[in-house]
Symmetry: C2
């Protein structure tokens, strides 16, 4: 019965969904990921892309995304040290989820606001 599915399958499903949510949640993660889908960028470039983020928050969120293997930080020891951030394979694999989030968000807006 449905009861069995609920009790047996749900804890695992819940844990995975929660993991995914934890990675993309917060105010800045998605903007950062989207900023990097258009290619590798430097700290200052991301900062310009996302106008209202403070360097503290950007630094903090980049660190978190790096820990979760969503992005990689590459340091070039050129004359003025430059750092570049880019999406990993795992980061790129978020594409479908982000797309679905976007689609539902639009649907939500149409349903709530539109009528």
């Amino acid at each position: 019965m449905a009861r069995e599915i609920t009790e047996v399958a749900c804890p695992h499903r819940l844990k995975a969904s929660r993991d995914a949510l934890d990675v993309i949640q917060g105010k800045w993660r998605i903007p950062i990921i989207i900023s990097l889908t258009y290619g590798k960028k430097r700290f200052g470039e991301i900062n310009k892309d996302i106008a209202d983020i403070s360097p503290k928050m950007l630094s903090q969120e980049l660190k978190a995304l790096e820990e979760n293997k969503i992005i990689v930080r590459t340091l070039y020891d050129s004359m003025p040290v430059t750092v570049e951030y880019s999406l990993t394979e795992l980061g790129l694999s978020l594409n479908k989820l982000l797309e679905e989030l976007l689609i539902w968000g639009i649907h939500f807006r149409e349903t709530i606001v539109g009528k």
Copy 2:
């Protein structure tokens, strides 16, 4: 160029994604939605499904989900007053997004933990 897409299309995309995230984010929203995908339920039944939620949090989150038109609250004035919660069309339409969240969550776990 990509630059143009970034600057023109992103603010709207971001807003929609953020809207969607706001609806499902937090510790209890997804568990509650999943609990209701298996049919309408009463307060006490959801409380039993999600063992560690407090009545305060359940009440609070049900109210928020109702405000966002994800669920409906139906009151039956039978002898002991009973209340039933069920998913709306909009709530049911979250299915694909939740599925995608689950799929990526599993992929994430395999990539991070598995190897």
